[in-house]
């Protein structure tokens, strides 16, 4: 057995480098976490406490950041006065619905595309991926016009359809890569064993189930985090968390505590989901181009 990494030898320079590296990592760690941390803490701060800052240059007084009485009133306010339970529900239904539709239809299509060859397949793929890559605003313009005609503006159905514009191509594209990795022989064995072709498709589903599950989660994540579709197509009856949070920003009397609380409510579930599918994250975020 060889060692896990390519060997390195210690030199004075490399020792110095190590110190620099530690400082850099520490700085980057703080840089990454601090905004999240400030959001989290601020969501428990009273309005006055949130506005407290030390005088300019007074670094010694940084401690006043922690000088407050924690309160959960913003969370209470969100759900009891600002209607966030509805928005949360909208988010869950729109994101979940579009993810399920996309992954179910997408896995069927991806499986077929992975198993059969035909002329124009390359063009079909290009169409699929360019649908995914289209700028959201550009898609939004005609979609808004069409949905207005069908009375889909402000409905959850409309939002689910809108999210499907980017989730379905994503699911097809990435799941095809997954099915490509499953040896055809397993279905053939299953067919020889006596299953129909659809049963053979079902027979290999357990093999790709972890991947399908992970990409379902990613579809939820993409849809959940959307702002543009939700603010135009969802406006009115199907407002989701991001636009609802944005609406708390008023010219007068910005409710920072509530905004931060809404941020926490929106962000925390996605972070858990992200951790859950950590293994598939790179594959998912790079449209399957990079695999860990």
């Amino acid at each position: 057995m060889a060692s896990r990494d390519v060997v390195t030898y210690k030199t004075p320079l490399s020792r110095l480098l190590n110190v620099v590296i530690v400082i850099f990592l520490a700085f980057y760690l703080v840089w990454t976490i601090l905004p999240l941390f400030l959001m989290f803490v601020s969501s428990f701060k009273d309005l006055l406490a949130a506005f407290q800052l030390p005088p300019v240059g007074a670094f010694s007084q940084i401690g006043i950041f922690f000088d407050f009485e924690p309160t959960t009133k913003h969370y209470y306010n969100l759900f009891y006065n600002l209607g966030f339970s509805t928005y949360l529900m909208n988010s869950i239904i729109a994101a979940g619905g579009s993810a399920v539709v996309s992954v179910v239809l997408g896995s069927m299509a991806a499986y077929s595309l992975s198993r059969v060859d035909f002329r124009g397949k390359g063009d079909l793929f290009f169409w699929i991926i360019s649908t995914r890559m289209a700028p959201v605003v550009a898609v939004l313009v005609p979609l808004y016009a069409i949905f207005r005609g069908f009375d889909l503006i402000g409905t959850r159905t409309g939002l689910i359809l809108a999210y499907t514009t980017f989730n379905l191509p994503f699911a097809i594209w990435i799941l095809k890569g997954f099915f490509d990795n499953v040896p055809f022989a397993i279905e053939e064995a299953s067919m020889v064993d006596g299953s129909t072709r659809f049963q053979a498709f079902r027979a290999i589903l357990p093999l790709v189930a972890p991947g399908i599950g992970a990409f379902l989660v990613l579809c939820v994540l993409f849809a959940w985090n959307d702002f543009l579709f939700a603010s135009i197509i969802g406006s009115g009856g199907a407002k989701t968390l991001p636009p609802a949070t944005r609406e708390l920003v008023q010219p007068q009397n910005i409710q920072w505590g509530s905004i931060m609380a809404a941020g926490v409510v929106t962000t925390v579930p996605m972070m858990f989901l992200g951790l859950l599918i950590r293994r598939y994250l790179v594959t998912g975020l790079t449209m399957g181009a990079v695999r860990e």
Partner: protein
């Protein structure tokens, strides 16, 4: 159980032809091996038998039943795949139970059949493991087990032991043959390894470039190859070939090669006489039908030893003749240094003659 009849079968993949006008009849209970180099169409043939590929033209019958349009599940066959194709998420037991489950067999029957197969294949202790935890040989046994629990009317094996190590392969050859004899099920076995084909099959179908070259018992294939290609493909180490002239001399043929001049036996001369076209032929002789020695005799041919390869049981000797080379397989205690002169004696009764223009065997 059933016989298998392949009639004028063609297989096209787009414009490329994988199988050309194939005709094979395989008796009930017979063990037929399809032998050929990669790309010869043997796997396509097997897959058409399994129903995993459509038949471009021609017919396949199992017994009297035409199966062209039958789906794999309705053909009552079992297949073992090259890479085993086990279901990775199922245990060995569940893998073997799958074909029975799909047919709605009772749990009792499933248990009984698996117990029987597991005992035969000596994998009883592995039944609760998953394929990941198995060695190559164990995976392969599981795949075979999955095939035999079905008690199908036809076994299709696609290079099932190609990926095992040499020792295990040798053992599996014997076991597979024994298993087939015990079950008495018709078996079509695809392989590129002539040793497997020769040692196990009742009959061998040799294929090349999609065309069936010869179908016959291992002895027929080995002793009477129908053309030069089969002669060169079957046999390890391969046959030696020489471009020769045949001259008639006193009622017998004499074989003339720049390096040697040899009388053709009475019997072979008689066979050649009617068939011969022109005077030039390709003569073939297997390395083990040449003896090598230090002493010259009337019939012997002198050559120079190029290199010797002791293999333990045998020794292979590369010999340089005048503008030709040949390979001799001899006894292990043969000793001859590089560059030494040696004397070769051909077993004249065992020569093969092929037409020099197209390579068809004269007899």
């Amino acid at each position: 159980m059933a016989s298998v009849t392949i009639t004028n079968v063609w297989k096209y993949y787009g414009k490329t032809v994988a199988v050309k006008d194939l005709n094979i009849h395989c008796e009930d209970g017979e063990f037929v091996s399809v032998l050929g180099p990669s790309g010869c169409g043997k796997s396509s043939t097997l897959r058409m038998l399994a129903g995993l590929e459509h038949i471009s033209a021609g017919d396949i019958h199992f017994g009297d039943m035409r199966v062209n349009e039958l789906e794999p599940k309705d053909r009552d066959i079992a297949m073992v795949f090259e890479n085993y194709a086990l279901y990775p998420h199922k245990t060995v037991y569940e893998n073997m139970a799958n074909p029975l489950r799909l047919r709605g067999s009772s749990e009792d029957l499933i248990e009984k059949r698996i117990a029987f197969a597991a005992e035969m294949l000596e994998i009883e202790h592995l039944l609760q493991r998953k394929p990941m935890e198995l060695s190559g040989g164990q995976k392969q046994r599981t795949a075979i087990g999955r095939a035999i629990v079905r008690e199908p009317k036809l076994f299709l094996f696609d290079e099932p032991i190609a990926h095992l190590d040499a020792k295990l392969r040798a053992r599996m050859r014997g076991e597979l043959k024994l298993m087939q004899r015990r079950l008495g099920t018709t078996m079509i076995y695809v392989t590129h390894d002539q040793l497997e084909a020769m040692s196990m099959a009742d009959r061998i179908a040799v294929m090349h470039n999609g065309v069936l070259q010869q179908l016959g018992t291992p002895q027929e294939i080995y002793n009477h190859p129908v053309n030069e290609w089969v002669a060169g493909f079957v046999g390890e180490p391969p046959m030696n070939f020489f471009d020769c002239e045949l001259v008639e001399e006193g009622g017998r043929f004499v074989l003339v090669h720049p390096a040697f001049r040899q009388m053709v036996s009475e019997a072979q001369s008689a066979l050649l006489r009617g068939a011969l076209r022109g005077t030039s032929v390709r003569m073939g002789i297997r390395p083990d039908q040449i003896s090598i020695g230090g002493k010259s005799t009337v019939e012997s041919v002198a050559g120079t030893i190029k290199v010797t390869e002791p293999l333990g049981g045998d020794t292979l000797v590369n010999v340089d003749l005048k503008n030709a080379q040949l390979l001799v397989k001899t006894h292990p205690d043969f000793s001859g240094a590089m560059g030494e002169t040696c004397h070769l004696t051909f077993d004249t009764g065992r020569w093969h003659f092929f037409a020099s223009d197209n390579g068809i065997a004269y007899f």
